[in-house]
Symmetry: D2
Subunit: 355 residues, 4 copies
């Protein structure tokens, strides 16, 4: 109790956000304005630089009174304890490097620090990665799996939204080497806010409403990320087939994973393995037999809900999370809580936004 009382009186953590006017930046801002231990010091935006936050996002009125500033002024911005970067891939790393130089710890939403080896990154994004040491230093920010490394990290590579869903859906078995290599097919259905706030024909309302479509069929950027993490858990190579789809909802990812097991395990043994893996995790909810997650129970939360089913010898893991929540900003806040020794659920105890 005294410790808690003490915390009430302590200073708040000062944070900044680079690229705060995309959807992940806006969601992060939304979470942080309600976080009791955090004070937002600055927010950058190139498009809305100089504008008040409530002018760009009226829902922040009565919550935060700041102007967006340009990232080009980064060096003159006030020192903060932590900066989040929601800048795009290929651009983020330069600013992350600058922040680290000033002694500011960073949680980076881009893919710039997600890969252990620079070759994968360079092949995917077709740019040279000049910060290879930082790549090696960065911690992949999946708290349920890398909690201890996150605590002391200077750079967190915040995982991709699809990757988070796939890794959570397979980790208990893969980490025991129980999934048959080459048997994994992953089918994700994603809400459109995950595709960003920049207007495009594909995301135009009348084009994307009342329809659904596969994309990235021949290879999505997050596939190597999933494979890297699953291979590392497995202690041997894991290759997956991954096809994401767009469905007309704002938020959420529903991922259905089809896989086969190496050995024969009963359904109950498999459930037991998942249960043991996640039983202490507040943000992972395992569904009982016959029940499967849906987006409505995880929207606007940091939860990852998992249901398991079987058809003959194929395991079907159904995973639901919010692509802006556990798939991005929520997970980043969870990482921050760990890094700064706050209760891990602080600022994240929200029920799904139902109905």
């Amino acid at each position: 109790m005294f410790k808690d009382l003490f915390k009430i009186f302590t200073m708040k953590l000062k944070v900044g956000i680079l690229g705060a006017t995309g959807y992940t930046g806006a969601e992060l801002t939304r979470l942080l304005v309600r976080h009791p231990r955090v004070e937002i010091i600055w927010l950058t935006s190139e498009k809305f630089s100089g504008k008040k936050i409530s002018e760009v996002f009226p829902h922040f009125r009565n919550f935060l009174d700041l102007d967006y500033t340009s990232v080009t002024k980064l060096s003159s911005l006030e020192y903060v304890d932590l900066s989040f970067s929601c800048l795009p891939h290929g651009k983020s790393m330069f600013f992350v490097n600058k922040l680290l130089d000033r002694g500011i710890r960073v949680i980076d939403f881009s893919a710039d620090f997600r890969f252990v080896d620079h070759e994968t990154y360079e092949r995917l994004y077709r740019v040279r990665h000049p910060y290879r040491e930082l790549l090696r230093e960065a911690v992949y920010g999946l708290p349920e799996i890398h909690r201890s490394e996150i605590k002391g990290a200077r750079i967190i590579a915040n995982p991709g939204c699809f990757s988070t869903s796939v890794i959570f859906g397979l980790a208990p078995l893969v980490s025991k080497g129980l999934i048959k290599e080459g048997s994994i097919n992953v089918d994700s259905k994603a809400g459109l806010a995950g595709a960003g706030r920049a207007p495009t024909l594909e995301l135009h309302f009348s084009e994307s409403n009342e329809t659904a479509q596969a994309f990235g069929v021949n290879g999505h950027d997050q596939k190597p990320e999933m494979e890297q993490e699953l291979s590392s858990l497995n202690g041997g190579p894991i290759n997956i087939v991954f096809v994401p789809h767009r469905i007309p909802v704002n938020r959420g990812i529903l991922t259905t994973i089809y896989s086969r097991l190496e050995d024969h395990l009963t359904h109950e043994e498999i459930r037991g393995i998942y249960h043991a893996f996640y039983e202490k995790e507040f943000f992972v909810r395992l569904y009982v037999k016959g029940k499967y997650p849906s987006l409505k129970n995880v929207r606007f939360t940091n939860f990852c809900d998992i249901g398991l089913g079987f058809q003959e010898d194929v395991l079907i893991s159904v995973v639901a999370l919010d692509n802006l929540g556990k798939g991005a900003a929520g997970q980043a806040v969870q990482n921050m809580n760990i890094m700064f020794d706050f209760p891990e659920v602080e600022g994240l105890r929200y029920t799904g936004a139902y109905p």
Copy 2:
């Protein structure tokens, strides 16, 4: 500061909810599980009696572990400081009466205690109202207008969702007698959760998606409620024309009000009157000239956003709120906060659920 510290140590307020598995009951539960000064003691439901809350609403898992009980067992339920009733019109009053008999204060979501005179109620609902004294005693729970009476009330008649939007859109002028009687046309567009959780053909997904429809054209139940409150504010009769419409969103009401003024006032004078009326209210946000509210900025909140426009001598007030939030459960929590001397915004400081 000491007072606040004291409050941290005090007991939580014990509350119960009658009819907790409709949408307003579920929303109220959602708000209360996060309210720092409240403990939910019991929840009733006839349809789901005996079931665990997380079985009916998986989004409550990890938040609340209670079983629904039947309202028929009300007399044997634990004493609480406050009960909310989300029971339907005509049924609620009987249970409200029982609660009061046990010395339990009540916030009632139904229309059963909204009317000053029993005749209006009886004409509307075609049933006799046996609790005429309670009718006179009940306080109409619009905090921004009846704050002081709410504080000491035993029964709060929680206002209708449409009524709240219309009253807020007109109150500043009506209370000064500035609106020309007979000139008010109100057009509301409402999300479908406001129509309840019971499955009907009209609310079936494929029937209500990709369409819009007027309803209650020849007289909606909340029209007399609006007229009663506006007339009271005006000090003379106010009659309105009111047509609600269903639009395919889950939550939110957008109300557009067309009215004419008695006297000539400049646009700036009118804005000034609204500003003066609402300037101390956290939950009412007046938009600047040329800007109008939209549902996305008020979804899942207790805010009521208002924008003003003009065409010739007609004033156009555009009002947005969440029908389950400021239009129901949020407003009820605000009333509770006032009744029990909590900070009025406690448990209600949420930004709009964007995007």
Copy 3:
């Protein structure tokens, strides 16, 4: 019968479309590929010039095999009997003028020829109108009202979508001088395809889904158009208050009109006047007492559905049509049918796209 048989053997009408890759152009193409008496000869598009139609719009595969061409090549395009122009306001008139010079009749979707006097146009669009004689010559293409003038017209100004809904909702009474001037408030709810195919933040899926918003509150472009036509029908000035709203559906306009009558007429007399006005019109469906139109019954059609209600002495006309159908492309095809002496319903006998 012989006349019909004869028509089967006759040549098809040759038509072209300027600006064929916006939503009205795409809808017009969709209607014309199924029209038994029409052959599309060319389609222009600046953005997609040189591309195959089925590459831009896969739904046209197996229906039409043409490449889009640039409007800059208009003079070298094959002669057609009729051209539609779906070019934007201010740009369309120049090309319409060129088409007329080549002896090609035109149906213009823009506002360029909708106003009788050039001053209104010039005030609204802030550009000079160089074709004042054509303005006077152009016929306002509301078939149910101007059928006889349409027949012989060289230029049809195809009406605005909102205007069509408002004029149909008021015409029977206004044309008898029965509506009290200054009493008309019009509230429209419109699907987003009516706002065009160019990607903007406002029409971005995650911005416009699950919300609703008023726009043009201080004066929409189609307001003078409605007033001009209603005043003409009335034989005296009609001023209206008009506020359109965006709702998250692809197609459709639901317009609710509030007005007061000059004289006392019974509800049945008013219904009788509407009935008499529309009884011979296939595309106008008057609803019986107590029933109101909804978008789902008019989507993808040329119908205009009307329901009437009353609150005290206020008449409430609820009108539903498809903004791309009766509000644009459907009405244009109806005008074409009249101009070329085809059965008026040819190519337009579609039921609503339900569910």
Copy 4:
């Protein structure tokens, strides 16, 4: 030409529909009222028996003026050339049998005649199948595969919507024995109208909007149907894993099929096999390399669009169709056209309902 002229003068085909007020019945009615060679003689409905069609479905006003009658009066209904049955599984077969007794040919939408052996049916639906000879006689109504048998059939078992999408996505390879048994995972995303018109909590707007969910994870009714047909095409057993999902659109199924090939074939060879299989089929559209179908291009049509992709040695077939169109009523009309020697595309040449 003379043959065509002749047809213009011939009598129309007389048809009846059993169970005409569910979504498949309504869609079938919608297609038939516009079919030039068909006259609807009667429609049955238990729920709406005695009501006018336009009272139940206002979109049919001006198109068809019939009252629904009860199926209990079947024996006294006028003789027709063909009856469709949209009655539910387990109920339909009794009425189909009666129709056949009167010499009326039948297209049955239920699963009652889809299985070759009665055991599969009886295991799935847990009822005895008393019409085993009819089971053997019935033709599985996939025109692109069983065209010649359909022509002379007395009973057509109209295929399931999911089955149609899966069979079309695999038939070219399966019929050559090229797919590796045990490698097929099928993930379908379906619009909600496919789940029927009866109101349920799951299909209630606010429950099913802005979410997505797997269902039938442990075994869907249409899985044995797909397996039966694919095994028959393959000449050896084909077992699949099949998980359908609900997504918030009215219509459409997007099916993504993951499979491995027995032999090594190049991508171009695989495309060639699909091309050869479907090149004469109007209603199957194969997409070019890198393009994938979406629901918007097939909504309200009888098309089945297919795109092919690859990840390592896994073939990904993406299939889109309308569950009420090619997945039900459209396919039934196509079957009728074949049975009665009409042009196969008659009454079905609709582009997708875009946007």
